[in-house]
């Protein structure tokens, strides 16, 4: 089944898709299982991706990007999700989406030269630090503080579940520059690895996304130059919300890409597997199950592409973005579960890919704003 380009992708996007597919097949897939087991992928993958121009597709040419726009990055996100390791896709994705996004949108020229350009070259790994042990969904309720002292901020607090947290060279950190206020008290600071008082408490053990490094960070009287603040003091909340837009579309696209891989895997497994004298794909119940999975995937894909289309057109479609993120990530979980079921006992075994998909998919409705938070956004947009 094909639907050339979905009225969204042109010839060049499809040509770029072939390039990314080749890269994924040759350089990621063969190692995915090993990296998942090691709970780490080689740092060299960042410069390798940079060499292929994958880390700066949306970013300006003057900082080393290619200014190609969100549709090319959308292609990259979908295809990376098929590499067999959600952790690799997440570790690389965090680099070119959430951690560098705020630098690009809100950074000064000097900040972009210091952090964005080396991140696009794959020389510096970036992370985004918002979530804290005591506040995740409730961004306005963050507790990490940054007290002004001359031309520095003094940061105190901790962050958790931070993707690339252990290996990062800089973290774009959400802090309260005015703890007496809620969202108006928030600012974003870029904190560099090696700054005194910035430490990594531990690398966290996870259900899925195992090849990505997820860290717990702590800050104790950590002095960060005021020059490292992105935009105005107190603008943090709106910057974070602005950054969530692409993160959520990115997660929806990743879910669509992964679900595609899951469905193809289920089709080929059920074709090969024989029971009661025929391949299990020949039972009508299996054929219908697969057809329903394809239908669910297509529906989620369409909604995701709708949000993407609006975004590419310059519109911040809050509700559609939230809907796409919720629908696509939940769809991916269901497809992974159904595909696992179709594998029978093999689905429960670590040697088959479907279990990894099943574990990796589960993060979708949690990270980048939970499904419940997406529903809350939709309700608000409906004026409810």
């Amino acid at each position: 089944m094909s639907a050339s380009g979905y009225g969204l992708f042109g010839e060049e996007h499809e040509a770029f898709r072939s390039t990314v597919k080749q890269f994924v097949e040759r350089e990621l897939k063969p190692h995915a299982a090993r990296w998942e087991e090691a709970e780490e992928f080689p740092r060299a993958l960042y410069p390798r991706c940079a060499e292929l121009g994958l880390l700066g597709l949306r970013y300006p040419v003057e900082y080393g990007g290619s200014d190609a726009g969100p549709l090319f990055e959308a292609v990259l996100l979908e295809e990376l999700a098929k590499c067999g390791s959600g952790g690799v896709a997440a570790g690389l994705g965090a680099q070119f989406t959430i951690s560098t996004g705020p630098l690009w949108r809100y950074g000064t020229d000097e900040q972009k030269r210091r952090f964005l350009a080396p991140a696009i070259r794959g020389e510096k790994i970036g992370a985004l630090g918002i979530t804290e042990p005591s506040a995740g969904s409730d961004v306005a309720g963050l507790l990490t503080t940054a007290r002004r002292d001359g031309d520095h901020y003094v940061v105190n607090g901790s962050k958790t579940y931070i993707t690339n947290g252990v290996r990062c060279d800089f973290v774009v950190l959400a802090v309260k520059t005015d703890p007496t206020k809620g969202h108006q008290g928030l600012s974003l600071l870029v904190v560099e690895k090696g700054t005194q008082g910035f430490g990594v408490s531990k690398k966290l053990k996870k259900l899925g996304w195992r090849a990505s490094d997820t860290g717990e960070l702590h800050f104790e009287e950590c002095r960060v130059p005021v020059a490292n603040r992105l935009g105005d003091e107190g603008a943090g909340f709106y910057q974070i919300m602005g950054n969530f837009e692409w993160e959520r579309i990115a997660m929806a696209l990743g879910a669509v890409g992964a679900a595609d891989d899951i469905l193809q895997g289920a089709i080929s497994y059920t074709r090969d597997r024989k029971a009661f004298g025929k391949s299990i794909a020949e039972f009508q119940v299996t054929r219908h199950k697969l057809a329903e999975m394809a239908t669910e995937l297509e529906a989620a894909r369409q909604l995701t592409y709708h949000a993407l289309r609006l975004h590419a057109g310059g519109e911040y479609a809050l509700a559609q973005t939230a809907m796409a993120k919720k629908v696509a990530t939940e769809m991916c979980c269901r497809l992974a579960d159904q595909a696992l079921q179709l594998h029978g006992g093999a689905g429960y075994m670590m040697e088959y890919d479907v279990q990894r998909h099943w574990r990796d998919a589960r993060l979708g409705p949690i990270g980048g704003g939970t499904s419940e938070i997406m529903t809350e956004i939709i309700a608000k947009q409906l004026g409810l």
Binding site: E11, E12, T19, L57
Partner: protein, 265 residues
């Protein structure tokens, strides 16, 4: 040095191939296509040579408008110009070689690099016909001594070596039992084997530039070539499904079976 390469459109080997009801062709619905992998190796080799011996790399493809996709791919990899021979309908290997001969006569390359075969029909004939009809030397199944994991391969060192003054090329051929080294006087025809190189990816800047590179159209009629096939396909069938294997308890049984039943040792 000017090099001409081919970029045939073939069914993606990942696609599920089915023979059609008439038994003379395959079901085209839902198939994916790509550049013949051996041709992609030819494009890569030409680009490596052109980096050392500057000159145009011209990619040729024969078929309907859809072959633009494979030509654009070659251009995105770095070829400088594309020639599209607009042709619908059946074509045998001699027809292809006749068309290429005309294009070669027009373009006057110093070297023609083709895949040793295309992965759809696996005929392995076009390079040989072409060399014969041009009256040029040929080296088929070009390979190299270095492995695809070697430093030379990482540094994109060509496997085909151009001699002083660009009068000759040295080619290592993969043959049964070893490597065969040939020196050809240019112009010449080379066909590629699998281990000649690892083709580069088409980069995003390459993909964008490909849009504005020249793509010239030709037709069989315009080239004055009679492409009426001399070979027709009478029947196409799927290979018989392989029988399930058996497990043997030990090596001794295996050897006995290989000797007495399979009769291969």
């Amino acid at each position: 040095m000017k090099i001409l390469v081919t970029a045939k459109r073939v069914e993606d080997p990942e696609s599920k191939i089915k023979v059609d009801a008439a038994g003379k062709g395959i079901v085209k619905d839902g198939l994916k296509y790509k550049i013949n992998p051996f041709d992609e190796i030819a494009v890569e080799e030409a680009l490596r040579l052109a980096a050392k011996h500057p000159g145009d790399v011209v990619a040729v493809s024969i078929g309907g408008k859809e072959v633009h996709e494979q030509l654009r791919h070659a251009l995105a990899m770095g070829a400088t110009k594309a020639v599209w021979v607009n042709h619908e309908g059946p074509l045998d290997q001699m027809g292809v070689a006749r068309l290429l001969q005309k294009i070669v006569e027009k373009e006057k390359p110093d070297l023609v690099i083709l895949g040793k075969q295309s992965i759809d029909d696996d005929q392995n004939q076009v390079g040989q016909y072409l060399a014969e009809w041009l009256g040029w030397g040929q080296a088929t199944f070009a390979s190299k001594a270095d492995s695809l994991d070697s430093e030379n391969e990482k540094n994109k060192v060509p496997g085909v070596i151009v001699g002083d003054g660009a009068k000759t090329v040295d080619v290592i051929r993969e043959v049964d039992g070893g490597l065969n080294r040939l020196r050809l006087t240019l112009p010449a025809v080379v066909t590629t084997d699998l281990r000649l190189n690892q083709p580069r990816y088409a980069s995003l800047p390459g993909i964008m530039k490909a849009k504005s590179k020249p793509l010239e159209e030709q037709t069989a009629q315009g080239l004055g070539v009679d492409v009426a096939p001399k070979i027709t396909v009478t029947k196409l069938s799927m290979p018989p499904a392989r029988k399930a294997g058996i497990k043997v308890p030990d090596v001794a049984t295996l050897v006995t079976k290989l000797k007495t039943e399979a009769k291969v040792v």
